[in-house]
C-alpha cells in the first residue's frame, strides 16, 4: 500500500481493517422463537403419547382393508370430481370470454349460483334430487327413477365437481387473460381456426398460470371428498367412522385417516412441482433454474 501524504497517516490507520474480527449478527429473536416452538412441539408429542391414544390401534388400522378401500374411493372421487370440475371450468371460462352475450351470461350465472352455495349443501341437494324430479329422461324415449341413478357416488361427483367448476372457471379465465394478445394475432396470422388456436397456442400458455392454483384445488378436493361421508359414500373418513362406531377408538381412526390425507397431499405436491416445470418450458424464470 502506498502512503499518499504524511498528514494522512492517522486516517490510513482508520481505514486499515485487515486485523479486525467479524462478529456475525446475533438473531436473538429467532433463537427464542425456535426454542418456544420446539417446547410446544415437545409438549404436543408428549400429550399424544401419554394421552388416551392406543398407538397399536393406529398401526393396526393403517392398512386395514376397509381403510385402504376408503382411500381408494377417496382417490377415485378426487379424480372424478376434479375432472368434471376442470372440464366445466374450461367450458365456462371459454363461454365467459367468447364475446357471445348469451353464453357469457350463462357463464356468469353458473359461477354466481354454484360458488354461492356451500358444497355440502349442493351435495345433499343432488343426493335428494328425487324429491324434485322423481323420474328423469326423455319422455317417450327412455325414463328411469332418479333414486336409481343418484347413487352416493354420482351425487358426490356432481355436487363436488359442479361447484369446483365454478371456482376452476375463474382460474382458467385468469389464465386465458394472461396470454398476450400478440399470441392470438400470431396464431390467426398463420391461419389457425379458433379451436386450433385455443388448443395449440393459448391453453398451453395459460397452463403456466393455471397449474399452481389448480394444483391447490386438487389438494383441496382430496380433503373436500370427506364431505361425501354425509351421503354414505364410502370414502376414507366414512369408513374410519364406521370402524370407530364399532370399536370406539375415535381418535386412533381419525389419526389413521389424517395420515392418509397427508400422504396423498404430499405426493400430489411433488407431482405439481413437475407439472409446473413442464408447462414453464421456454419461460425465462424456469429455464434459469433448470
Amino acid at each position: 500500500m502506498t502512503m499518499p501524504a504524511p498528514q494522512a497517516a492517522s486516517l490510513d490507520q482508520k481505514y486499515e481493517i485487515a486485523h479486525l474480527t467479524l462478529v456475525p449478527k446475533r438473531h436473538i429473536g429467532r433463537m427464542v422463537t425456535a426454542a418456544l416452538v420446539l417446547a410446544a412441539l415437545a409438549a404436543l408429542v408428549r400429550a399424544f403419547s401419554v394421552g388416551q391414544i392406543e398407538w397399536s390401534y393406529v398401526r393396526d388400522f393403517l392398512f386395514a382393508p376397509a381403510i385402504l378401500q376408503g382411500l381408494q374411493s377417496t382417490l377415485v372421487m378426487t379424480v372424478a370430481a376434479m375432472t368434471l370440475g376442470i372440464v366445466l371450468g374450461v367450458v365456462i371460462a371459454l363461454m365467459r370470454v367468447s364475446g357471445n352475450p348469451v353464453l357469457s351470461s350463462i357463464a356468469v350465472g353458473y359461477v354466481w349460483i354454484f360458488r354461492g352455495a356451500p358444497a355440502l349443501l349442493q351435495l345433499m341437494i343432488w343426493f335428494n334430487l328425487a324429491l324434485i324430479f322423481p323420474t328423469m329422461g326423455i319422455p317417450g324415449l327412455f325414463e328411469f327413477r332418479t333414486v336409481d341413478i343418484m347413487t352416493p357416488f354420482v351425487a358426490a361427483m356432481l355436487g363436488l365437481g359442479i361447484s369446483q367448476g365454478a371456482y376452476t372457471s375463474e382460474v382458467v379465465r385468469s389464465g386465458l387473460l394472461s396470454v398476450d394478445s400478440g399470441q392470438y394475432e400470431a396464431a390467426r396470422s398463420i391461419g389457425m381456426t379458433q379451436m386450433v388456436m385455443l388448443r395449440r397456442i393459448v391453453l398451453p400458455q395459460a397452463m403456466r398460470v393455471m397449474v399452481p392454483p389448480i394444483g391447490n384445488e386438487v389438494i383441496g378436493m382430496v380433503k373436500l371428498t370427506s364431505l361425501a361421508s354425509v351421503i354414505q359414500y364410502s370414502e376414507i373418513l366414512h369408513n374410519a367412522q364406521i370402524i370407530y362406531f364399532a370399536n370406539t377408538r375415535v381418535l386412533e381412526l381419525l389419526l389413521v385417516a389424517s395420515f392418509w390425507y397427508l400422504a396423498v397431499v404430499s405426493v400430489l405436491s411433488i407431482v405439481q412441482h413437475y407439472i409446473e416445470q413442464y408447462f414453464g418450458r421456454g419461460s425465462k424464470a424456469v429455464s434459469a433454474s433448470m
Binding site: G182, E185, R188, S189, I190, M192, T193, S287
Partner: protein
C-alpha cells in the same frame, strides 16, 4: 402489359368508435412487388395491414387478395360475412411479421416454424421438418433450431418469425415495423433477411421507418397520414422528389 395484382384495396375505411383510423385508403400491389408504407405514428399504417389479413374488420371499402374478396362472399348484390373457418383459410395465404415478434414462447424455434404447416395446412411432418430446417439456415439460424424464443436475441427472434411466415408458403407477407423493437445493432441482420426475401420475388408490404431499406428494396412507397393515403408512387420518386408537402416534411423529420 398485364401484371398480376396480388393486393387491391379500394376505399378502405376503419372507425374506432367515432375516430376515423382509415379514411378511404386505396392501394394496388403487383406480384413480386415490395411496397413500403411510411408515415407518422398513429397514421393508420398498422390498422391498414391488419385489415388486409382480417385482424381488424373494416367498416367500408373492400380488399382483394389474389382476386379473392377478403372477409366477404359475394352472392349477387349481397356481401355475406364469411365464417371463422373461411377467414382462417384466407389468412393462410398471407404471412405476417409483427413489431414484437410474437413467437410462441412454449415452442422452440423449429417448432414455431413448423406449427402452421403441420397443424394448419396438415402437411406431412417430415417434409415440413426439412423445409423448416432449410429456412432456419437461410435466415442464418441453422444452429438455433432447439432454442426457445426466450433464449434468442430480438434480431434472432424476428428472423425466426420471418421464417415462420415463409414456411406457410404465402403469396404475400405483411411486415409491421419489423425492426422497430430491435436494438440498433440488430436491425441490419433482419433487414438483410428481408432483402433476400424480396430478391426471391416475394410480394411484401412493409411498414417501416427505415428509409434506406425503402430506397434500396421497395418498388412502391406509400405515405400515410391521419388515416389517409397521401401519396403513392415509385420509391425513388416518393423518397427523392415527393409531390406532397406533408411527405417532404415527414422525410426531412425522419432524416433528422
Amino acid at each position: 402489359m398485364s401484371k398480376e395484382i396480388v393486393v387491391k384495396a379500394v376505399d378502405v375505411t376503419k372507425l374506432f368508435g367515432t375516430f376515423t383510423a382509415l379514411d378511404k385508403v386505396s392501394l394496388e400491389i403487383a406480384k413480386g412487388e415490395v411496397c413500403c408504407i411510411i408515415g407518422p405514428s398513429g397514421s393508420g399504417k398498422s390498422t391498414f395491414l391488419r385489415c388486409i389479413n382480417q385482424l381488424e374488420k373494416m367498416n367500408a371499402g373492400a380488399i382483394w387478395v389474389n382476386d379473392e374478396l377478403v372477409g366477404y362472399r359475394r352472392e349477387g348484390n349481397n356481401l355475406h360475412e364469411i365464417s371463422d373457418v373461411e377467414m382462417s383459410r384466407q389468412r393462410r395465404h398471407i404471412g405476417m411479421v409483427f413489431q414484437r415478434f410474437n413467437l410462441f414462447p412454449h415452442k422452440t424455434a423449429l417448432e414455431n416454424i413448423m406449427e402452421g404447416p403441420v397443424h394448419v395446412l396438415r402437411e406431412p411432418i417430415a417434409d415440413v421438418h426439412k423445409r423448416a430446417e432449410d429456412l432456419l439456415v437461410r435466415v442464418g439460424l441453422g444452429d438455433k433450431a432447439g432454442h426457445y424464443p426466450s433464449q434468442l436475441s430480438g434480431g434472432q427472434q424476428q428472423r425466426v418469425a420471418i421464417a415462420r411466415a415463409m414456411c406457410m408458403r404465402p403469396e404475400l407477407i405483411l411486415f409491421d415495423e419489423p425492426t422497430s423493437a430491435l436494438d440498433p445493432e440488430l436491425v441490419s441482420e433482419v433487414l438483410d433477411v428481408m432483402k433476400d426475401l424480396a430478391a426471391s420475388g416475394m410480394t411484401m408490404i412493409v411498414v417501416t421507418h427505415e428509409l434506406g431499406f425503402a430506397r434500396s428494396v421497395a418498388n412502391t412507397v406509400a405515405f400515410m397520414e391521419a388515416g389517409k393515403m397521401v401519396e403513392v408512387g415509385p420509391a425513388s420518386q416518393v423518397l427523392s422528389s415527393p409531390k406532397s408537402p406533408r411527405t417532404v416534411e415527414f422525410i426531412r423529420a425522419v432524416h433528422g
